[in-house]
Symmetry: C2
Subunit: 454 residues, 2 copies
């Protein structure tokens, strides 16, 4: 079988460029307009994308003054899109720190049922004190503890998804016997973070489990991904960095006895597309000019965990920033941003400009051919199994990608031309449907401790 690209459409209100809402054509209410998202989903499905993806954090961060604020809750939004699309996968971000396993496992199983096996879960631990304070905590738990909790949360979720065998149903109407209680396996889970006694109250879903996705690239994050993830979203600025990450993560996965083919690595890509290279660069510059630097400064100060006043727009980053391992926030994003600023000797203003496009994800401006070339190079040179496509402006950026770049990828034999009818998201990733009971087994053999400081 030829290796085929995986393309995921990362949806976001008016686009991934933080200034996109200021363009004349952008709808500043897009983030809560369900018709906007239905149209995006139709476009992505026309482009035979593997899946749609929504990020999430249970917090209104940074106020409403300088960018469109307020979003539809991802599982709700993707459930609507389940009803208005036929084939495309539906990947929702949900936090292991601010949910309970029983409720969340139910919701993903339900989405998997109503979508005919198209659900995916991007497992996040949620950094930041503001979110913590919406859930009765003073601050976010430590990075390592968040990941330890995430691992136990995931184990419990797997047990819950395994709590119904596939053939529970008997359905003898004459005798009045609906199902076989011997095929129900309550987790009886007693752990450090969770106690969950009973079986899920929903039969095993078409995929068994949703596709398990992970997106943090810290040490804890990579260990977690190697253990559980089937797809990984990651921010990588250069081919060399992406190759190193790819090798590292596939190696960690193999070391845990998993098939490295069973974990697909999808770097983010912000494609700024023009009919000429000059037009694309102009488009990029236009967007950069619309950036509100005060907002960028606030975001950067939050990420770096330093006071706003320490960031001088026309100077470099402070020299005395702590190493990433001491940051109790988004460690890998922190590392990437500091690295980028130092490597390219950027002022804070320039750094904010560079981050405006995709918050640390790689922006590439060029013609459709050039974008396709970049994708092909990374895909064939051991840097990516596919891409998390983050159009800078929506809906136009996704339309351009589907109409101009996808046909090139198809002509090159890198990407599918149609969906396989009835295929689940797992099928599309070449993953087998897990057998009920695997989770119990995994857990019994669990000698890998997640959580570097645990």
């Amino acid at each position: 079988m030829t290796r085929v690209l995986h393309l995921n459409a990362f949806l976001m209100s008016t686009g991934h460029h933080e200034a996109s809402w200021r363009l004349p054509e952008s709808d500043p209410h897009a983030s809560t307009d369900i018709e906007h998202f239905k149209a995006l989903a139709r476009t992505a499905e026309r482009g035979t994308f593997d899946s749609l993806f929504l990020a999430d954090g249970p917090v209104l961060w940074g106020g409403v003054a300088q960018r469109p604020a307020g979003v539809l809750e991802p599982l709700t939004l993707l459930t609507v899109l389940a009803a208005t699309t036929e084939h495309i996968g539906l990947i929702a971000t949900a936090s292991t720190t601010y949910n309970s396993p029983y409720n969340l496992a139910r919701r993903f199983a339900s989405l998997d049922h109503v979508s005919g096996g198209r659900a995916g879960w991007n497992i996040v631990t949620t950094a930041g004190g503001a979110a913590a304070r919406n859930f009765g905590l003073d601050d976010a738990p430590e990075h390592a503890h968040r990941y330890e909790r995430a691992a136990e949360f995931t184990e419990v979720a797997l047990k819950l998804w395994d709590s119904w065998e596939d053939d529970v149903f008997i359905g003898d109407k004459d005798l009045g016997v609906w199902g076989d209680d011997r095929k129900i396996h309550p987790p009886h889970h007693q752990g450090r973070y969770f106690s969950v006694e009973g079986a899920l109250n929903i039969p095993r879903s078409p995929q068994g489990y949703p596709l398990l996705v992970q997106a943090g690239s810290s040490e804890d994050g990579k260990d977690f991904a190697a253990r559980y993830a089937e797809a990984v979203f990651t921010a990588q600025q250069t081919l060399a960095e992406a190759q190193a990450f790819y090798r590292d993560l596939k190696g960690r996965t193999l070391a845990l006895g998993r098939d490295p083919e069973g974990i697909k690595i999808l770097p983010g890509l912000v494609p700024v597309i023009g009919s000429t290279e000059a037009e694309a660069r102009e488009r990029d510059a236009e967007l950069e000019e619309l950036i509100t630097y005060e907002h960028g400064q606030r975001r950067l100060a939050e990420l770096l965990q330093i006071p706003f006043e320490q960031l001088d727009l026309d100077a470099r980053l402070p020299a005395d920033l702590p190493p990433p391992a001491l940051i109790n926030g988004a460690q890998s994003r922190y590392e990437l941003v500091v690295e980028l600023a130092r490597r390219d000797k950027l002022t804070v203003r320039e750094l904010i400009g560079r981050l405006g496009g995709g918050r640390g994800h790689r922006t590439f401006a060029g013609t459709p051919e050039q974008v396709a070339d970049q994708i092909e190079i990374w895909f064939t040179d051991g840097a990516a199994d596919g891409f998390n496509i983050m159009p800078p402006v929506l809906p136009s950026g996704l339309e351009l990608f589907v109409d101009e770049v996808v046909p090139i990828l198809r002509r090159r034999g890198l990407f599918r031309t149609e969906y396989v009818p009835g295929e689940t998201l797992r099928d599309r990733y070449g993953l087998p449907r897990p057998e009920a009971g695997r989770a119990q087994l995994t857990n019994m053999n669990a000698d890998i401790k997640i959580g570097s400081q645990a």
Copy 2:
């Protein structure tokens, strides 16, 4: 304005009669078949019902042997129906004991956005130890504490829904100003059960709040309803009991300074419809014969909180049952069932037969005219503002009701003949859209303590 009935369609797999799945025409997989629910929703919308309703408990209770088990999570299911219907309200049950306010308020606001203002929340506290053990507890919190928590949960949810004023949006693209931070009001809530600091991360929804619904009829439940509910589902076996409940609850509502018109009371009704009275009764008897008594015995023992062995099918209920106030479960259902058994001098077997139809809700077997008569009598004689319609068999029972009973109610001028375009669920209930900030006010004036033992 003429007073118009409110009709809610209470959806439930193959129907509300517990033996309904054993009928030849019933689909034993209905409870997870999204097409089944889409068809029910279309039927209810054809009948211009006010709303659809789903019960819920986060637990697989009583195994899978004797009845269809496993359900789609209600908010997920209703979100699909939001996408496939246009007018009908969507009322989901969700627990205040096993959720966090920030997550749940977000989800209801999201459903309200994607449905154009059709969301309703049936607020429940969730009885029973089995559910508790899925969420890290050994047993359910005490009845009074559950209601105290429910009150605080609701207050926090109201504050969150009020955390965005309606006119946050400025949208000055030239200046790069999206919204007005002064119109964001973080709850800063510090209470006994919850601390929730920040504003919701979704703009105020079309209805402001979802319609607030309540369904328990214990003393705590009635106090809670009088304070917060805008619609109440209740189980009432006789006209006299229903009238007493109606007077009581409207009185409590008035005593709290609320308009009694602002709380609509909808008793459950299980209509067994035949073209003659005899045919209807025969249908009822047929269903009763299919009841699995062992399953009924287990459910009854759980409700009464006594060992299974104390229930002799051919004897009356034990004489020494405790008073309802000492039951840490579903107090009002307990009271109703014991009362019904004693009043009608039923054996356990007969009681199970009577409960099989609607778990304590009133079953009425008759012709469409007779069903309409019952509805009219209760509606005009101070017992009901409408009904929670619980067809014993689905989809046929809902189709019969819509095709045979609704036209009679319309001819009598009791029920709408069409929807008002663009109407929200609140509009349909004659309720104003709440002004942002009402919740803060309510809270400041809160001199009513919910929780009889607090």
